[in-house]
Symmetry: C2
Subunit: 116 residues, 2 copies
DNA sequence: TATAGATATACGAATATACATATATGAACA
DNA sequence: TGTTCATATATGTATATTCGTATATCTATA
């Protein structure tokens, strides 16, 4: 499966999607309820944007019981990984990205397994 | 002047805009008629997209007589320059980007001064 | 001033996007 | 089977985007 270049940048052009990608890039893998809590937006909005990212082959999902985890596919082209690296390095200390990470880390069930 | 991150990626998410940026990145500076000829699209379409890029502070223009030249502003944030470098390195050997460059180099007035 | 060439903008139409809300699906378990 | 929780999708609405075409602006020069 190939990723179109406009699709790739279009994925990053929406703040909600970029926030999801940035958090997933920093943690490796997150489920929908973790993203919902970290970003503080309603769940259908998260699911819709994750579906767009999955459809563009920028994220892949993995179901584990009730939870669905999203991660970057390992075969993402190298230059796209570099773009994500540079982008996340730059935005991770800006709002709303740093608050997202803080809220994620404050989730009681984080750093254990399972979700809220 | 600050560039919003969504604006930056939105600029790259359109193929016409990415083709313009890629050519300008490779050459340093191009005028509207050079871009029009290289991409093979009508002039108002080029001007409209260049105006979007200028409005997002991703390109800057410089008038020289009848011609208007567009270039990347020197103070573009470093990580955005890195993103452009990685992107152009990757797409420069794919269509339609390599044909764009070929058509640009075939312009009789190129490598001299002035335009067609 | 009049003309020509280069560039910019205005306009209407078709299409796409993002959102909030409501509802559906799917898995686990009593 | 029925319920609950996590996630996905459908719907209607408001707004944005892109395009082709027509026209306006701007500069140089006669």
């Amino acid at each position: 499966m190939n990723i179109s270049i406009p699709d790739f940048f279009h994925a990053l052009a929406d703040e909600t999607r970029l926030r999801c990608i940035a958090l997933i890039h920093q943690t490796g893998e997150l489920c929908v309820c973790e993203l919902t809590h970290a970003l503080g937006v309603v769940q259908p909005k998260i699911s819709r944007h994750l579906a767009i990212l999955k459809g563009a082959h920028i994220l892949r999902d993995r179901r584990a019981g009730v939870w669905v985890y999203y991660h970057l596919p390992p075969e993402l082209p190298g230059w796209m990984v570099k773009v994500l690296n540079d982008t996340v390095m730059s935005v991770r200390d800006q709002e709303p990205f740093c608050t997202d990470r803080k809220r994620l880390n404050e989730m009681p069930s984080r750093s254990q397994n399972g979700c809220s």
